[in-house]
Amino acid sequence: MAAVLTVLFNGIAYGFLLFIMSVGLSVSLGMMNFVNLAQASFSMLGGYAMVAATQRFGVPFLASLPIAFLAAAAASVLIERLVLRHFYDTDDLTQVLLTLGLVFMSIAAVTYFWGGSYQRFDLPAWLTGQQDVLGLTLETYRIFLVLTGALLAALLIFGLERTRFGAMVRACVDNQRVAGACGLNTQLIFAGAFAIGGGLAGLGGALAANLLGLDPNFPLRYLVYILIIVSVGGMGTISGTLAAGLALGTADVMGKYYFPQFGGVAIYAATVAVMLWRPHGLMGRRA
């Protein structure tokens, strides 16, 4: 019984990790309707910012998280102003190609500055090891992930999805011309939304680095996972992304425990099934 509960908990923690990783893209795709694969690069950047802060400048881990957010947010706005804003009205595939190009460039750039190897960093002692909770032995970092993930989800759902700012962004995306003529400063709103999306991606990267490792190929390695989570959840609904993360996370961990012979196929099969069953995702908005 304890084993089952531990596995379940691990699945939930993994689910939150997937959520944290994907939420940046979820915001940019859902709110901005921009297929910004470069979010994966911002994740990586957040990870590297965290490592640089903690390892080189001795910043405590917790304090390095906002740094990761800000670094990625700044980079995101920069890229938006320089490149992406010229592509709001292009089709999905053009955006995919453009941002894929940016991902490639980021990989080479990171290799140039930080080298090709995996980054080493040590978590503070209080985040490592295991804790006894209600008779279960749980990994400390996973507990931390669950708490942070839940907090983040709550913040975003109530602070972004259900607010006027969220509606403004979606209005600008639906029709930039009309939104502008209705008095919305589309440039500013877009930049703001990109900052939030990029920052979240950076935060996700910083939190994920411990479990997933961090090297220049990080964006390519996790791109598919991120895409899967966001689409299964339903474009741009943060609650959907959370639901998809939790569902696929638990399914994955439970699957590996009970049916290890199925290997990695479970998550893909689940994706195919969900997308055929509900083409707009678990919580997709449009009818």
């Binding site: 084993a3 531990t6 596995v7 691990n10 699945g11 923690a13 993994y14 290799t111 080298g115 090709g116 190897s117 995996y118 980054q119 080493r120 960093f121 040590d122 490592t128 090891g129 295991q130 032995t137 990994e139 970092y141 996973r142 411990n210 479990l211 997933l212 490792g213 090297d215 190929n217 390695r221 996790y222 996972y225 996370g249 994955d252 961990v253 439970m254 699957g255 590996k256 425990y257 290890p260 012979q261 290997g263 990695g264 196929v265």
Partner: protein, 366 residues
């Protein structure tokens, strides 16, 4: 002055770019120590990026360097599928090659009699470790391998050797190649209550991930011995694993800590030349040894026109002292016989190292 062209086909980009960096490092060091001529001919390199296990590209590049660049010797391509895809061309064009970064058995010899291997063959690492485990009374072993051909290979040899040494298979599982999450597997291993866990994972996210998971989940602290082929504690990735790697028992062909004058010189000069990062892994040694065989082979036919058949018959059957220890290239098929070391990962002077604790001498490639 006459020249000899050597093709250098390695992965210089992408996930496997570190081996490319080591290749460059080793070549640079060797040239510095031995000059840029061999057998009176100037050495020129044709360097191409295989971009990882990508047989279609590798084959085309081999075709290109052989038919257009007209290289006489080839170091590479790396990875088993690349090697296999290239073999027929090398056979037909009579271009001797040195295989490294590909460990599958049987890819040297009948597939291409012009090849020699300076790397290692999978059973070379798996069998000694099984014997070592049983000898130390870790009888019930759980086997976890990556779910792809090399993993299946390794699993086969290890389980065979374990049975031969009358050990017991406590359970086994195959981990998919793209797998960011191990906790379900960890629980499964814990449930099986083995004495030891044997791991084979390719270098990279999986090798790092599993050692971290073993440590984070508390499996390591619970008395289960963690062991595996040297991939999981390869020096290039060891620091990224961090303290989670300490205490891991691995079998390997080379450690920077290997006690020999030749190795100390090798490590010192390599580091001076290429800097401390990335650390020296077994790719560097494998390339370094390939360079030495190439030079020796060319020197042996100094003055004459390059003759691939003579070259191969000179290289096959050769024994020499490598930084890793004594090495013999098989006379029959060009595969490699070498010492295999059982190492324990420890922190030495604040740096994670693979410390050799036992030596299996002259282990064959079968």
């Amino acid at each position: 002055q006459e020249s000899v062209k050597i093709g250098l086909l390695q992965s210089f980009s992408g996930i496997t770019s570190l081996s490319g960096q080591q290749t460059d490092g080793a070549v640079k060091l060797f040239m510095k120590q031995n000059g840029d001529t061999a057998g009176g001919k100037k050495i020129e390199f044709v360097r191409r990026d295989t971009t990882g296990p990508n047989p279609e590209v590798a084959r085309r590049l081999v075709q290109e360097v052989v038919t257009r660049e007209k290289v006489q010797l080839l170091i590479g391509p790396d990875f088993t599928p690349n090697t296999l895809a290239a073999a027929p061309i090398l056979m037909e064009a009579k271009v001797p090659s040195f295989v490294n970064g590909a460990a599958t058995t049987g890819i040297i010899g009948e597939k291409s009699s012009y090849s020699s291997r300076t790397f290692f063959a999978t059973p070379q690492l798996c069998r000694p470790l099984a014997e070592y485990a049983v000898k130390n009374n870790w009888k019930r072993v759980f086997v976890a391998v990556a779910d792809f051909a090399p993993g299946h290979d390794c699993e086969k040899y290890f389980v065979e050797a374990l049975a031969a040494a009358s050990g017991v298979l406590a359970g086994q599982l195959r981990v998919p190649l793209s797998n960011p999450e191990f906790s379900g597997y960890m629980q499964r291993i814990r449930d099986a209550k083995p004495d030891a866990l044997f791991i084979f994972m390719p270098l990279g996210e999986l090798s790092i991930g599993i050692l971290r998971a073993v440590s984070d989940s508390g499996l390591k602290g619970s008395g289960i011995k963690i062991m595996g082929t040297g991939d999981i504690t390869d020096e290039t990735y060891l620091d990224a694993v961090g303290d989670a790697a300490i205490g891991t028992i691995t079998s390997g062909i080379y450690s920077t800590r290997h006690e020999s004058e030749l190795n100390k010189k090798f490590v010192r000069e390599y580091t001076e030349l290429n800097g401390p990062s990335p650390r020296i892994g077994w790719t560097a040694v494998s390339i370094y040894d390939a360079m030495r065989l190439a030079y020796d082979g060319l020197n042996a036919q100094a003055g004459g026109k390059f003759d691939p058949d003579k070259f191969v018959s000179f290289v096959h059957g050769r024994s020499f002292e490598s930084p890793r220890g004594p090495v013999t290239i098989d006379k029959g098929n060009g595969d490699i016989t070498q010492n295999v070391y059982i190492r324990r990962t420890d922190k030495v002077d604040g740096v994670l190292q693979n410390v050799e604790i036992e030596t299996f001498k002259d282990v064959g490639f079968k």
